[in-house]
Amino acid sequence: MDLRDVPAPDLEDPLFQPYWAGAAEGKLVLPRCSGCERVNWPPRSVCPHCRSTESAWAEHQPHGTLFSWTVVGRATAPGYHEVPYAVGIVALDDAPVRLMGTIVGAEPSALVMDMPMSARFAPAGSSPEFTLVQWEPTADLSATPTNPGS
């Protein structure tokens, strides 16, 4: 998948900056509310549960399960010229949040509900470059590499 034309989001947006900085290092980093300890995703500047405005960003295991997905047959998204491709929602294993991401490493027809998925950190964009968190079926649980980015 050629990701060079995918427009970068605002990488300096304080709500998301640690997420993108983490992705650039091959890490899945999410905010945990300093007031109530919840992992809030998508991130919000004020915690809807406790009104805290403080978050601590922490690394998460880049593993989850495929909660739902679509196979895009008509290209509409900037930078995504080639179809078909799949976009999914992955339920993270170690926090009660779901993340949207492109699904790679499998034919769309091979995807199965709730199958184990692992993150892959892919270079994207051109000016500026950034790192996208994509998801692929976990090859074999016993053979899960310690560094999925490799």
Partner: protein, 386 residues
């Protein structure tokens, strides 16, 4: 809201719905508004309130084109496809409170021959979630976002391709009875449905609504304006509701919960009627699955019975619950749901000819928009002097 002192849908009007209109958006709007005013038995200059929607003709353009002498209030309701039904509530409040006398709801667009949808500005809430999380993943259309809901629902509740197909085929069969429909002369069978190219699987071509050139208009008033010559159409109750949270689909819990569930629960609580009393339903059908989802959320079925309602009890004319007898957004035209209100009104007056639901006295209309906002209303036929 529900009030014994209810407002009325006093007049409705529309252009024919086509793929490419020769007229301008303004000319289409004027045609529909003139028709609605004539139908309401008022002069166009008596319109003193206007409610519109993003991307369609705006309030100031309407005032200028029609030289409306004294519009007292104007509004835009911005909950996507839930806006039209929601506007019935706002219009009712205006006319019952006396803030305005005749409130116009209008949609006019060159949705097919004008700027392409993907190029239009997004009016969704929390734009940073769209740009930071969705666009970068290759997801930027309603079809793609709602496909997530559709696939999960199919997995959890056993809905199948056959159910989606029947929603598309029923809509088309109804449009084939509606001379104003964009697809009036175009039949659709199962083979053709199944040959539709993938748009955002599970949504294929014929699971997706049309893009349309055209206009329609509705006049809401505290007076039925019928002089006893024809049945009045009363707005018995209208409610809107919002999902938790309304600005993100991915982390909702439960995932398939939408605003319509809350709105419908309040609606049925507020009137002495239930889903079984409805003679037809006009359901916001941006995509096939949303019809199933909303029929369940609105109380017409449960996750266990929705499949049976669609395939066995029937959603076509003659079935247990005729749905979208005009053809809906899937086959009549995409007027963001205002055309659903036009159709419900005509059904209650008995004006629908070959697609008439005989003896229709109560029709429910739903709206669905943005990322799961919902709205619902019940219109009732009221004979004799109001």
């Amino acid at each position: 809201m529900n009030s014994n002192n209810a407002a009325y849908v006093r007049g409705v009007g529309n252009t024919r719905y086509v793929k490419k209109a020769d007229q301008s958006v303004e000319a289409l709007a004027v045609t529909a508004i003139d028709a609605a005013a004539a139908d309401a038995g008022i002069a166009v200059s008596d319109i003193d309130g206007i409610i519109v929607y993003h991307g369609h003709i705006g309030t100031d353009e309407v005032i200028a084109q029609l030289r409306l002498p004294d519009v007292k209030l104007r509004a835009i309701i911005d909950i996507g496809g839930a806006s039209a039904v929601s506007a019935l509530q706002m219009a009712s409040l205006y006319v019952l409170n006396g803030a305005a006398t005749n409130v116009l709801l209008v949609r006019a667009i060159k949705g097919n021959s004008g700027p392409r949808k993907a190029k239009r500005r997004s009016f969704l809430p929390s734009q940073q979630f769209r740009t930071q999380l969705e666009y970068v993943a290759g997801c930027n259309t309603p079809a793609q976002r709602y496909a997530f809901l559709c696939r999960r629902y199919m997995h959890e509740h056993g809905l199948t391709r056959e159910h989606l197909a029947e929603i598309a085929l029923a809509a088309r069969a109804h449009a084939n009875l509606n001379p104003d429909a964009q697809m009036y002369e175009r039949t659709l069978d199962m083979d053709e449905y199944l040959s539709g190219r993938v748009i955002a699987d599970p949504y294929w071509l014929y699971d997706c609504c049309l893009e349309t050139d055209g206009a329609c208009a509705v006049v809401v008033s505290a007076q039925p304006g019928t002089d006893g010559q024809r049945p009045a159409v009363k707005i018995l109750a209208t409610e809107e509701g919002h999902a938790d949270p309304p600005d993100d689909i991915t982390n909702r819990d439960p995932f398939l919960h939408v605003g319509l569930e809350k709105a419908a629960a309040r609606l049925w609580d507020s009137i002495s009627l239930g889903p079984d009393d409805m003679d037809a339903a006009m359901v916001y059908d941006c995509f096939t699955f949303e019809v199933a989802h909303q029929l369940e959320a609105a109380g017409f079925a449960t996750p266990d019975t929705i499949g049976r309602l669609i395939l066995e009890d029937g959603i076509r004319l003659g079935g247990k619950l005729p749905v979208n007898t005009h053809g809906g957004l899937l086959s009549e035209g995409h007027m963001v749901g205002l055309n659903h209100i036009v159709e419900a009104t005509r059904q209650l007056r008995g004006e629908c000819g070959p697609r008439q639901v005989s003896g229709a006295r109560h029709v429910a209309i739903t709206g669905w928009g943005n990322l799961g906002d919902g709205s619902i209303t019940v219109l009732g036929r009221h004979d004799g002097s109001a």
